[in-house]
């Protein structure tokens, strides 16, 4: 990795990303395979935690490959990578708020609009 970085340094100095075509073709193929896998999750009617974990695993693998290779993130300097990749982690807060709020609404709807006992 260190060697590859050194060889590409001249290209980087001009702000250019030049990589062999095989890299892109490999990632393209992998994305296809991963998409097939995530489709098969639905096709074979996996349910419950198995379904959700498989969906999320394939999703993050695909997203990672696209960002890392197609968008050249692994070849960028760490300052840019962190500036772009870390801020979305804040969304976990919004995710938590949404989950709490949604559950609360669900319970109150069950109490007020549900069948009377």
């Amino acid at each position: 990795m260190v060697h590859a970085e050194g060889q590409q340094h001249t290209a980087h100095a001009k702000g250019q990303q030049q990589h062999p075509i095989s890299v892109y073709l490999w990632i393209w193929g992998l994305l296809f395979v991963l998409s097939v896998f995530s489709y098969l999750v639905d096709y074979f009617h996996f349910q419950g935690y198995l379904r959700w974990s498989l969906i999320v695993i394939f999703m993050f693998l695909k997203a990672g490959l696209i960002v890392a290779v197609f968008m050249h993130m692994i070849w960028e300097r760490l300052a840019l990578v962190y500036a772009i990749v870390l801020p979305p982690l804040l969304l976990l807060v919004l995710l938590g708020i949404g989950a709490l709020e949604g559950d609360y609404t669900f319970i109150t709807r069950g109490i007020f609009f549900g069948p009377r006992s």
């Binding site: 393209w28 696209i66 960028e76 300097r77 840019l80």
Partner: protein
């Protein structure tokens, strides 16, 4: 626009790797993003803000789906198509996914051939990407009209929870809009490449920026992002 004065230390600072590199790059009153033009840095920052927009949509979709007491429609069946008398679940969405991934592959190679000054191949790949994008939007239009014909509306539908329609139209509509804008810009960039604007550093019609092949890469960043967003929509809206 006047160029800032280059001081002698402009490019001579050491560029350590790893964590010390972050500190060195961000500190000492200098530009933070080395080896990256402002155009590329700004596209990344725009994409970051777009990430927050789409994430807000997906999180609000989660919130309404969690909170509804009415069962959610069976997405797998809603988006099934019948071929030769056999109903295949979610097949349209799967095809759309493959089309968008293919367009990402051609886009990545268009960037590569652009930097190699191979105008013809680069422009062809850009136009192929635009074609895939247009196909995607076309299939989405088909999907929308099918659902509208089935009675799905933003305020309700015959299959289940009313929130299904509003989430569906909002999320896929916003994504489809991004794809459509991308197709238009792909065609513009392809014309620029083909005409040799980027070789001649011809100023653009809108901003007057000098043309260069990094424009193709910045265009690519946007396009890959559109594909990236679809990965999340596919997982959370169609598969969940």
């Amino acid at each position: 626009m006047t160029q800032p004065v280059r001081t002698g230390t402009g490019e001579a600072l050491p560029l350590p790797e790893g964590l010390p590199g972050i500190v060195a790059d961000w500190s000492s009153d200098q530009r933070a993003f080395k080896n990256v033009s402002w155009g590329k840095a700004m596209m990344w920052i725009f994409l970051l803000s777009d990430t927050f927009i789409f994430s807000s949509f997906l999180i609000s979709y989660m919130t309404v789906r969690v909170s509804t007491t009415v069962p959610w429609p069976n997405v797998s069946e809603v988006f099934a198509l019948t071929f030769f008398g056999e109903s295949i679940p979610l097949i349209l969405i799967a095809i759309m996914t493959f089309i968008l991934i293919s367009s990402s592959g051609t886009m990545a190679m268009a960037v590569k051939y652009g930097y190699e000054r191979n105008k013809k191949i680069s422009a062809i790949l850009l136009l192929v990407t635009a074609f895939f994008g247009a196909t995607f939007v076309g299939m989405q239009a088909f999907e929308w009209s099918k659902l509208i014909a089935d009675g799905v509306r933003p305020w309700g539908n015959p299959m289940g929870a009313a929130q299904f329609g509003s989430s569906f139209f909002m999320i896929t509509g916003f994504h489809g809009f991004h794809v459509s804008v991308g197709v238009v810009f792909l065609i513009i960039v392809a014309i620029k490449v083909l005409r040799g604007d980027l070789d001649r550093e011809a100023p653009g019609f809108l901003t007057g920026r000098k043309g260069n092949y990094e424009m193709v890469e910045v265009m690519g960043l946007y396009w890959h992002f559109v594909d990236l967003v679809w990965v999340f929509i596919f997982a959370f809206f169609y598969l969940w």
